[in-house]
C-alpha cells in the first residue's frame, strides 16, 4: 500500500471537512433541508478518509516501511509488534493523526446517536466539528505530514524511546485524546446554540451525556498517565505538576465544573451564559494543551520535537477557534439570563461555589505553568514553578469544595433546608473525627496523615449518608436514577482519591541502599532480602535482573525481579519491580554494581497509592453512568421542546444577518 495514498486520503478529508463545515451551517441558516441533509454524509465521508490514512500509517509500521520517515524515526525491526502499532502515535505527526481519528469517532457517534436532534441544530453541530477538523487537517498537511518519504531507505529504523515501550503507551494517549477531543462536542453544541440564537436551553440537556463521557475518558487518560509514570520512571512519583501534566489537568478541572453547570442549566434553567462560556473554555484548554506541548515554549519530558511553523500554526488555529467563539459569545450570549431563583442555602449556591473553586484552580495552574515564560519574555530571569507552588495552592483551593461536597446532594434545588444540613453536619463531623481518632490509634502520625483520613471520610460519609437518606425516602424502583448513581460514584471516588493522595505522600518510605547478595534491609513493616543479580534477555534488550524476597513477620510476601535493560539502540532503562496491593505497594528498583559484589537498590513501601487511581476510576465510572439515565433519551427531549431552524419572528433581524 503506497504511503502516498495516505497523503491523498488526508487531502480528500480536508476537502470534505471544508464542505462539512460550510454546507450544513449555510443550510441551517437558510432553512434548506437538502443542504442540512448533507451533514451526516459529509461527516462520515471525512471519517472514512481519515480512518484510511490512519490505517495506511499503521500498515506502514506493520510492514516496516522505513521509506516513510516517520516510521524510520519511531520504529525498528526488533520492536515487538504491539509496540510497532502503538508507535503510530508515539511522536508528533502520528499523534495528530490519532487526534483526527478520534475527532471523527466522536462525530460519527453524533451522527449515529444524535439523529433525533432537531435538524438545524444538528447541522450546526456537525458544521462546527467540520471547522475544527478542517483546521487540524490543514495543520497536519502543511506542517506535520506523517507520510513524508525519505530516500535512500534505511535498512533499519531508530529505536523507539524505551520509556515509551510500555503498555501504558498503548492506553494513555488514546484515552487522553478521547477526553480532550470529546470536549469538542460540548463546544460544538454551545457554538451551535449561539449560531442559532437558541432561546431555550434544551440543548444543554442534549450536551450533557457527551460531556460526561468526554470527562470520564479524560479522567481515565490522566489516571493512566499517572500510573504509567509511577511504574515506568522508577522514582515512585505519580504526579509532578509537569507543564504537560498540567495541560491535561486544566481541561479536566473545567470539565468537572462544566458538568455541574450543565446540570444547573438543564434542571433549573440557570447559569446559561456561564455554561456556554465553560463549554468554550473546556475545548479551549484542550487546544491550549495541544499548543503548549508542540510549540516548544515549555521544557518538559513530554514535549514533542518542535519546529517553529508548528507552534505558530497552532497558535493561529487557537486564536481563530477560541477567539471566534468568545467573540460570538460576547455578541450573542443570551440576553435574557432567566432561570429559577434560589435560596442562599440551596444546592445551586453550593454548586456555584464548587464551580468557582474549580475554575480558580484551573486559573492557578495556568498561571503557574505559564509564569516561567513570563519570566523569560520580560527578562526577569529564569524562574521555576513546581510542586511546592502547585501543591499547597491546590490544596487550599480545594478545601472549600471538599467541605461543601457532602452537602450538595443533601440540599434541595432552590430552597434552603437547614435542618437537613445541621443533622448531616453533626453526623459527618462525628464520623470524620472518629476516623481520625481510629487512625491515630493504629499509628497515623502528623497533621498531614490525619488530614488525609478525616477529609476522605468527610467526603465518603457524605455520599453514604445521602445514599441512606435516599433509600429511605424514595419509592422503590426510583431510588437511584443513573444520573444520581453517577454522582455518588464520582463523589465517593473523590474521597478515595483524597485518601490515596494524601496518605501516600505522607506515609511512603523510600530508601536508597547498597546491599551485598544475601543481606537484608527493613522498610516499614517489611523485610527485603537481596539474592543477587543474574543476566536475562528480552525481545530487543539484554537485562540484569535482581531478585529480592520480601517477608513480613517471617511470612513470605512476594519475590520481586527488578531489571536494568540495555536496548538494541543502546539506551539503558530501569524496570522497577512492583508488588501491587490494595492497601500498599512494594517497589524495588535496581541500581548499579557498587563493587565488592554489592549493588545499589531503591526500595519503597507506598501505602494506599492504588487509591489514587482507584478514586480516579470511580470518578470515570460515575461520568459514564450518568449517560445511561432516562433523562437523556432523545425522543422525549425532541417531542417536548423543539428549536426552530429559522430565527423567531420577533427576534431582531440582525440575528439572521450575523449567522455563520
Amino acid at each position: 500500500m503506497n504511503p502516498e495514498l495516505g497523503q491523498v486520503a488526508l487531502i480528500l478529508a480536508l476537502v470534505l471537512s471544508a464542505l462539512q463545515c460550510a454546507l450544513p451551517i449555510v443550510g441551517a441558516w437558510r432553512g434548506s433541508k437538502p443542504l442540512m441533509a448533507t451533514a451526516p454524509t459529509l461527516a462520515i465521508g471525512q471519517a472514512v478518509f481519515v480512518a484510511l490514512a490512519f490505517g495506511i500509517l499503521m500498515w506502514s509500521f506493520w510492514i516496516n516501511d522505513f521509506s516513510v520517515a516517520y516510521v524510520a524515526q519511531n520504529s525498528n525491526l526488533s520492536l515487538p509488534w504491539f509496540y510497532k502499532l502503538s508507535a503510530v502515535w508515539g511522536a508528533h505527526e502520528g499523534s495528530l493523526l490519532l487526534w483526527m481519528l478520534i475527532l471523527n469517532g466522536w462525530t460519527v457517534a453524533l451522527v449515529i446517536f444524535g439523529g433525533k436532534l432537531p435538524e438545524a441544530f444538528f447541522s450546526r453541530v456537525i458544521g462546527v466539528l467540520g471547522f475544527v477538523a478542517f483546521g487540524f487537517l490543514l495543520y497536519m498537511i502543511s506542517t506535520s505530514n506523517p507520510f513524508l518519504r525519505q530516500f535512500p531507505v534505511p535498512a533499519n529504523g531508530a529505536d523507539l524511546n524505551p520509556v515509551l515501550q510500555d503498555p501504558g503507551l498503548v492506553f494513555h494517549p488514546p484515552t487522553l485524546y478521547m477526553g480532550y477531543v470529546g470536549f469538542s462536542v460540548a463546544f460544538a453544541f454551545a457554538i451551535a446554540s449561539l449560531l442559532g440564537g437558541e432561546l431555550k436551553s434544551t440543548w444543554v440537556r442534549w450536551a450533557r451525556p457527551w460531556t460526561n463521557v468526554a470527562w470520564g475518558f479524560l479522567t481515565l487518560g490522566i489516571v493512566a498517565g499517572s500510573a504509567w509514570a509511577y511504574y515506568e520512571l522508577g522514582w515512585g512519583g505519580w504526579w509532578f505538576w509537569d507543564p504537560v501534566e498540567n495541560a491535561s489537568f486544566m481541561p479536566w478541572l473545567i470539565g468537572a465544573a462544566l458538568i455541574h453547570a450543565q446540570a444547573i442549566t438543564d434542571k433549573r434553567d440557570g447559569l446559561r451564559a456561564w455554561t456556554l462560556l465553560l463549554s468554550i473554555f473546556g475545548f479551549a484548554f484542550s487546544l491550549l494543551g495541544t499548543f503548549l506541548v508542540r510549540s516548544g515554549l515549555l521544557t518538559s519530558v513530554h514535549s514533542f520535537a518542535f519546529a517553529p511553523a508548528r507552534g505558530v500554526f497552532i497558535l493561529v488555529y487557537l486564536a481563530v477557534v477560541v477567539g471566534g467563539s468568545l467573540l460570538l459569545y460576547a455578541l450573542r450570549a443570551p440576553k435574557v439570563t432567566g432561570g429559577k431563583s434560589f435560596a442562599l442555602a440551596s444546592r445551586e449556591t453550593l454548586m456555584v461555589i464548587g464551580n468557582l473553586m474549580l475554575t480558580v484552580a484551573c486559573a492557578m495552574v495556568l498561571l503557574g505553568t505559564l509564569y516561567p515564560l513570563v519570566g523569560e519574555a520580560l527578562n526577569i530571569g529564569r524562574i521555576s514553578v513546581g510542586p511546592p507552588y502547585f501543591g499547597p495552592l491546590f490544596l487550599i483551593l480545594m478545601t472549600p469544595l471538599v467541605l461543601a461536597l457532602p452537602f450538595g446532594p443533601l440540599s434541595r434545588w432552590g430552597k434552603a433546608d437547614l435542618t437537613v444540613w445541621r443533622k448531616a453536619l453533626i453526623r459527618i463531623v462525628a464520623l470524620a473525627v472518629a476516623a481520625g481518632i481510629i487512625g491515630f490509634i493504629v499509628g497515623a502520625r502528623g497533621w498531614y496523615q490525619l488530614l488525609g483520613i478525616t477529609a476522605s471520610v468527610w467526603v465518603m460519609a457524605g455520599v453514604v449518608l445521602f445514599a441512606i437518606k435516599r433509600w429511605r425516602e424514595a419509592p422503590r424502583g426510583k431510588r437511584y436514577p443513573f444520573e444520581m448513581l453517577g454522582m455518588m460514584l464520582a463523589h465517593f471516588g473523590i474521597g478515595v482519591f483524597i485518601a490515596g493522595a494524601i496518605l501516600t505522600t505522607s506515609m511512603s518510605v523510600e530508601q536508597d541502599v547498597s546491599m551485598k547478595p544475601g543481606t537484608n534491609v527493613d522498610v516499614g513493616a517489611y523485610d527485603f532480602h537481596f539474592n543477587g543479580v543474574t543476566e536475562t534477555e528480552g525481545p530487543n534488550y539484554r537485562a540484569q535482573q535482581g531478585t529480592v524476597v520480601i517477608t513480613r513477620n517471617g511470612k513470605h510476601v512476594v519475590t520481586l525481579h527488578p531489571q536494568k535493560r540495555t536496548y538494541s539502540g543502546g539506551q539503558v532503562q530501569t524496570e522497577a519491580a512492583i508488588e501491587a496491593g490494595v492497601f500498599r505497594d512494594l517497589y524495588v528498583s535496581l541500581g548499579d554494581p557498587i563493587g565488592g559484589g554489592a549493588w545499589s537498590l531503591r526500595v519503597y513501601d507506598k501505602p494506599f497509592v492504588r487509591w489514587i487511581w482507584g478514586g480516579g476510576v470511580l470518578m470515570m465510572l460515575g461520568g459514564f453512568a450518568v449517560v445511561l439515565d432516562k433523562r437523556f433519551r432523545l425522543r422525549r427531549a425532541v417531542e417536548s421542546e423543539t428549536v426552530r431552524a429559522t430565527p423567531e419572528p420577533e427576534a431582531p433581524r440582525k440575528l439572521a444577518e450575523g449567522e455563520a
Binding site: D269, A273, L277, I280, F281, A284, F291, S295, G296, L297, L298, T299, P308, G311, V312, L315, L318, A319, V322, G323, L326, L327, Y329, A330, A333, P334, K335, V336, T337, G338, G339, K340, S341, L370, L373, V374, E376, A377, G381, R382
Partner: protein, 189 residues
C-alpha cells in the same frame, strides 16, 4: 419563572483576557526563536570568579590558581573528551585561538586526564593552557552544569560573560568579541 432581563456581566471580558493571552504567546514564540529555552543566565556575571587551585593537564604536579591568571582577561572553556558538542566546537576554537586577543584556557571537566590528553592529541590543542578538574567540584562553584561552556573573565578575576553550548562564529562575532573589545577599552589589558 422569575425572569430577570439583563445582559450577562462583562460579556467581552473572556475575549479580552484571551486576546491578551494570545499576544503573550506570540511574544513567547518570538522570544523562543532567538533564545535557547534551556539556557539559564548565570548568576555569577559581574561577580568574582571562585577561587580555584587545579592541576595542569600537561603536568599534574604543577597547579594553577585564580591568582596566577589575574592581570589579563582570559577565556575559560569547559570541555571534556566525552562531550560530543565539544567536538563540534573544537574546529571553531582552533580557528579562533589566536584571533580572540586573549588567552584561551581549557578547563577539562570530569574527565580522566589520559582521556583528555588523548583527545587533544587526536584533534589538536587549541588551548594556551589546560587545567583539569577531575572531580568537578570546583566546577560547581562556577555554576557549570554541562559541557561545553565558556567564561570570559577579566583582569581582576570578575566573570563578565558566560556562554552555554558550543561557540560558533556567529556567537563569537555578535557577543564574545564585542565584550572582549570592551574589556580592552576598559584598560584591563
Amino acid at each position: 419563572m422569575n425572569e430577570v432581563a439583563r445582559k450577562p456581566i462583562g460579556r467581552f471580558v473572556p475575549l479580552l483576557v484571551f486576546a491578551a493571552l494570545v499576544v503573550f504567546f506570540v511574544i513567547g514564540l518570538l522570544w523562543n526563536q532567538s533564545h535557547d529555552a534551556r539556557f539559564v543566565p548565570s548568576p555569577l556575571i559581574d561577580k568574582p570568579a571562585p577561587e580555584f587551585r587545579l592541576p595542569r593537564l600537561e603536568n599534574p604536579t604543577q597547579f594553577v590558581t585564580k591568582a596566577d591568571l589575574l592581570g589579563k582577561p582570559y577565556l575559560l572553556n569547559v570541555f571534556a573528551s566525552w562531550c560530543f558538542a565539544c567536538g563540534d566546537e573544537h574546529p571553531v576554537l582552533m580557528a579562533y585561538r589566536d584571533k580572540f586577543g586573549v588567552s584561551l584556557i581549557g578547563y577539562d571537566y570530569k574527565d580522566a586526564p589520559q582521556d583528555a590528553r588523548a583527545w587533544l592529541d587526536r584533534h589538536g590543542n587549541p588551548y594556551h593552557e589546560v587545567i583539569a578538574d577531575q572531580s568537578g567540584e570546583t566546577a560547581i562553584n562556577f555554576g557549570v552544569y554541562g559541557a561545553p561552556e565558556t567564561y570570559l573573565i577579566d583582569a581582576k578575576g570578575i566573570i563578565r560573560y558566560k556562554h552555554i553550548g558550543p561557540l560558533t562564529p556567529d556567537v563569537i562575532a555578535k557577543e564574545l568579541e564585542p565584550k572582549i573589545r570592551a574589556l580592552a577599552q576598559e584598560g584591563s589589558t
